[in-house]
Assembly symmetry: C2
């Protein structure tokens, strides 16, 4: 294990109708005027918007509002939100939605008290100087942004997608009501689950030794997803299964499962270029990139891929041939993705190889390399895109 | 799953020499005068006392000190600590030691701003009104008190042992340096590991449905202990193994593995009477009580005991006879305890049955029953003590 600091102070209120307390809880926290931030029409159609605004009014919490967050949330709307928060004297941002809405809220919350350009913080050129507190009502189990210190924003100028991990990004409070997930379209269910699995696997593939505990915790969470995703696609009304998926999404990404390990995160970086350029869903990009990444890197630490195959997918083949076990594990992951309707090839989402060199250069941009399990150059990344064609 | 609130805001700084930062961190938190609270001679012998006090002096943090915490920490010393904190105007309690020292520090921290008798809080007769912040430097992986909201104190008048679980009991900051564990005596290693395993099993044995994720996380943590405890007994200098045990102890008891489940805690209650009356180590009492409790209750939910046997102990027997699988799981737990030198019978620690009725009455005292997996009356508890003879 390597040295670490673990600090995950987000309060999670989980269960039936918990979001109905949002107004009174914000009032108790001393909020005077908040920004209600959300995406499109879905929370209005489902009645969630009316429940939240009624709760705010009943608690006497004044609010401004800004909807319109898109998947792969845009810098333009973040800047609009910052201007609105400043103009209205907002003291807290309430995000109602999935990871895109929450990430957009985090960027607004960092940008409001910041005197410079908020994009400089995402580029690593400037440090945040403070933030408005962020509270979330989660509607999509996926990004883990409800407790994570991460946010990912896309700059429309040049379609540059950048993630920022910073302690100030952690929400102070999140409401997780599994029943809210029942209205999600099937595609979002799949893509969300793919994102949760990717968060587990980015942590799992490490060269750090003496991480038996977190290995087993990650394996257990992955096995849970292998059972719960097909179950929820069979019955979207099953709140018990939603509860497990929603909680797995939080546990997968609040940090505890990755402590003491070097994490990889190459697949996320490789995916980000795909979704930035082609505007595909992040979870779709991940189910395409991850198997390709695995095929490219597994020889660097076959033992870890054997453990993944045996413990997560119950692969039972002669141990005399570890590579065969490793490859069978990767094949089973791909087969699982396909069985739940997730894409595993770029062709599945209509992307050809034309812009591979450009994406590979962008993905490797920040330090000339990407990933920790194997350090990938732009040339390596291009090969991984090609394996995914 | 059942509804819950998860809030575990303790900051954990983990790794090599991390406790050397204690002084400067306390200073940065604004501490002016602290209480340095510890046990006996061991932290002076090991040099830890000198390191901590040198750090405090270097950072300009003034301190009062109170040593002498015993295992099964006493109310008398807690009251002495409260009087000292009030007299010296202490604004933070720094616990350097294991669970007993930390629990004693928590009680002092709650009692100092409380106008009544602190024991009334532990009896549930009064609510805490505030606390001094508690910071810990952990030396024994066991109780999980470094991040938990729990503290257990023994009142010497009547040898009544009572636990208090309250959000104010969570330390604000804990330093976990695995290298500090190398000087622990073998008995404390065993007893600490037994306590960690018990914290996992108290959560594991539940009748709550739809808890697949936390089942798997608990199983993974238990399997880790089955490997790491024998390893550390073989080589006490192995800091990598200490790191895994120390982190497992935190993860086992910070709350995250029990969310959404009804937990049991009967075995802890039954054990507390043993250690209160006979002053045996808590971990020794737990390895005696847990198998007896299991034998008494397993028929109430054989499926759960089958899962425990199969997933934690790899029991492979015909599924046609679930009871045989369940009993084999319990037998393997007992065999494991014995293989690492833990007692599994009251006779192993020199206790006979003379005071069983008294202990059973005390254990059931608070509501006439104990435990959630099966609600135990005093008569049930007496039977469990007898099974452990």
């Amino acid at each position: 294990m390597i040295d670490f600091t673990y600090y995950s102070p987000t309060e999670i209120i989980f269960g039936k109708d918990c979001h109905m307390q949002a107004g009174e809880r914000l009032r108790a926290m001393g909020a005077q005027k908040i920004l209600l931030h959300y995406g499109g029409a879905s929370i209005k159609r489902s009645g969630l918007y009316d429940q939240i605004t009624a709760g705010l009014r009943a608690a006497g919490v004044d609010f401004a509002e800004l909807g319109g967050v898109q998947p792969n949330p845009r810098l333009g709307l973040v800047k609009e939100g910052i201007a609105l928060c400043r103009k209205e004297g907002v003291d807290l941002v309430l995000a109602v939605g999935g990871g895109s809405v929450i990430d957009s809220a985090k960027a607004i919350a960092l940008g409001t008290p910041f005197s410079g350009d908020v994009w400089d913080i995402f580029l690593g050129k400037a440090q945040p100087t403070g933030r408005l507190p962020v509270v979330t009502v989660l509607t999509i189990p996926a990004a883990g942004s409800e407790s994570s210190p991460s946010a990912v924003i896309t700059n429309e100028e040049g379609w540059l997608k950048r993630g920022l991990t910073h302690p100030l990004n952690r929400p102070v409070l999140s409401f997780l009501n599994p029943a809210l997930c029942r209205t999600l379209p099937e595609s979002q269910i799949r893509y969300g689950a793919s994102d949760i699995m990717a968060h587990l696997m980015e942590r799992y593939f490490t060269n750090t030794d003496h991480v038996d505990l977190s290995d087993r915790l990650l394996e257990g969470a992955l096995r849970t997803m292998l059972i719960k995703l097909p179950a929820i696609l069979k019955d979207k009304e099953d709140v018990d299964t939603w509860a497990e998926i929603m909680w797995t999404g939080m546990v997968a990404h609040n940090g505890i499962l990755g402590m003491g390990r070097e994490e990889d995160w190459a697949s996320h970086g490789i995916e980000h270029e795909l979704s930035a350029l082609y505007d595909i869903a992040h979870g779709a990009g991940l189910s395409i990139v991850f198997p390709a990444w695995m095929k490219y890197v597994y020889k660097a630490n076959v033992g870890r891929f054997v453990q993944f195959a045996v413990r997560v997918f119950d692969v039972s083949l002669p141990f005399a041939d570890p590579e065969a076990i490793a490859l069978e594990g990767i094949a089973r992951l791909e087969a699982f993705y396909r069985s739940v309707g997730l894409p595993t090839r770029l062709a599945d989402v209509g992307i050809d190889g034309a812009r591979i060199p450009e994406m590979a250069e962008k993905a490797a941009f920040r330090g000339g390399w990407l990933g920790h399990f194997v350090s990938l150059t732009a040339a390596d990344i291009a090969e991984i895109y090609r394996l995914a064609l």
